[in-house]
């Protein structure tokens, strides 16, 4: 089996678990919705302020959803020694990183569809101005977040893991995704999509760094 085949097999396994357990749908999405409503409440009912902050709120919801999804991606591996089984399987360790990354990315993209519609409804974000730029920003940002989450999600399964460690690590590392994603989204929804190119380039650079470095170093996290 090639690396691609192994990665796809792992991604399919994780997505099958998600389809049967419905964690993203049943817990992460309601959480993101609650978060967006809480943002709205904290910023008050003024429509201009809400419309201005909408891209930031959108990406914060995506960022928190990515932390929850990456934690979940390794949570079920901790049960019944599933991780040991995965390690003993005759596959490349990088395939675990890539496969889990794909599974997280697919779940995140599905979540983002709902989050974007919610933000658009709650905060008046105009989606139709430059939909392609918006989709590109979300897609590139998601790959980066999935790579960071797939790389470090495994740490949350440590015997002494605290709930806060994963977000403590992921949120500062993902700063470029947050900034570039918010900027690209703001430009795309304000009808200035032409200026978003450099932000999309930055997201792409982040993706390349984290996917390639993650593939190289992930094996070190899993050795026993």
């Amino acid at each position: 089996m090639t690396l691609v085949g192994q990665s796809v097999a792992i991604a399919a396994k994780d997505l099958r678990i998600e389809v049967r357990g419905r964690y993203a749908l049943g817990s992460v999405l309601p959480f993101a919705g609650t978060l967006l409503v809480a943002f709205g409440l904290s910023l008050g009912p003024g429509r201009t302020l809400l419309a201005e902050t909408a891209p930031g709120l959108l990406w914060l919801a995506v960022l928190f959803a990515s932390v929850l999804s990456s934690r979940r991606a390794y949570e079920h591996e901790g049960e019944d020694g599933a991780l040991e089984g995965l390690l003993l399987a005759p596959i490349d360790k990088a395939a675990v990183f890539i496969g889990k990354g794909i599974a997280i990315a697919v779940q995140l993209l599905a979540l983002e569809l709902a989050i974007v519609l919610l933000v658009s409804g709650l905060f008046d974000l105009s989606l139709a101005v430059a939909p392609l730029t918006l989709v590109a920003a979300l897609f590139l940002g998601t790959i980066g977040l999935a790579a960071v989450g797939s790389l470090f999600g495994v740490l949350a399964e440590a015997p002494r893991a605290r709930e806060a460690v994963l977000p403590l690590l992921v949120l500062p590392l993902a700063t470029p995704v947050l900034i570039a994603g918010v900027r690209a989204t703001a430009l795309a929804t304000a009808g200035r999509a032409g200026e978003a190119g450099s932000w999309l380039g930055l997201l792409l650079a982040f993706d390349l760094v984290f996917v390639s470095v993650g593939t190289l170093v992930f094996g070190f996290l899993l050795e026993e």
């Binding site: 605290r162 500062p172 700063t175 930055l202 470095v213 996290l221």
Partner: protein, 254 residues
């Protein structure tokens, strides 16, 4: 290359090296204090507040130096699997977090009289703050695992990835500011700094670098003692207590 680096490091961290380093640091810090407080004149515009330069810039330099050391030591650990590289990364990260926080706090103190605000979202300040958060996360990861080998591997991965994240973060923060406001206020253009101030600044950077080496050396010794105490607790074959080991270490140092 790795082995020659280890030899040099071994010589510095020997008890004699540590004592000499400690005295050298003390002398250099005193020289830096005299240079920055007495010899250097007050700044034409900022008055005495500008003297913060002589500790703020060296602290910021140590922030970046120490995390570069964490990066190199992490790669060396993953390549050689020797515990000493892990101890070096841990020691350097702890000292680095200390000086990064100090650089931000000093910058904030300096910003109030000069810029009129404790905080501004300047690219360098923001990047340094992100750096601080990443390495606070690094130290949190070090406390995660109860297996020393696993802790070392995990920490090394975070040490490598965290450092590679810095340039991308800096770029994103710079653009983020650049698209909305003019360039950052430059207090001291490279060419406009007076020669005497430059000498004072260089003395500060030198003294702080020695301080960094000294603190890392002490932390490395502490790390060795910790490891030995743990090893001794797990296998009492020596018939010695951890206290006895500490005494032994103390007498070896004279």
């Amino acid at each position: 290359m790795v082995s020659s680096l280890e030899r040099v490091a071994g010589r510095i961290t020997a008890p004699r090296g540590e004592r000499i380093l400690g005295w050298a640091t003390l002398v250099a810090m005193a020289a830096s204090a005299v240079m920055s407080l007495v010899v250097s004149p007050p700044d034409a515009q900022q008055g005495n507040a500008a003297r913060l330069l002589y500790i703020h810039v060296p602290s910021a330099w140590l922030a970046y130096l120490s995390f570069a050391v964490v990066f190199v030591a992490s790669i060396a650990y993953l390549a050689t699997r020797r515990t000493r590289w892990d101890r070096l990364a841990a020691a350097s990260a702890e000292v680095g977090v200390l000086f990064t926080a100090l650089a931000i706090a000093l910058g904030s103190l300096w910003g109030k009289p000069v810029w009129g605000t404790w905080w501004t979202w300047d690219p360098r300040i923001t990047t340094t703050t992100i750096l601080l958060l990443i390495y606070v996360g690094y130290l949190a990861v070090r406390r995660l695992s109860d297996s020393p080998a696993r802790r070392a591997r995990w920490a090394a991965v975070v040490g490598v990835v965290g450092f590679l994240d810095v340039p991308v973060s800096y770029l994103s923060v710079t653009w983020w500011r650049g698209l909305h406001q003019g360039t950052t206020i430059r207090l001291l253009g490279e060419s406009t700094i007076a020669p005497i101030m430059q000498v004072a600044l260089m003395t500060g950077v030198f003294a702080f670098t020695l301080l960094f080496l000294y603190l890392v050396t002490v932390r490395l010794r502490l790390g060795r003692l910790e490891d030995r105490a743990v090893a001794e607790a797990l296998s009492p074959r020596l018939g010695q207590s951890a206290e006895a080991l500490l005494e032994q270490e103390a007498s070896a140092r004279g």
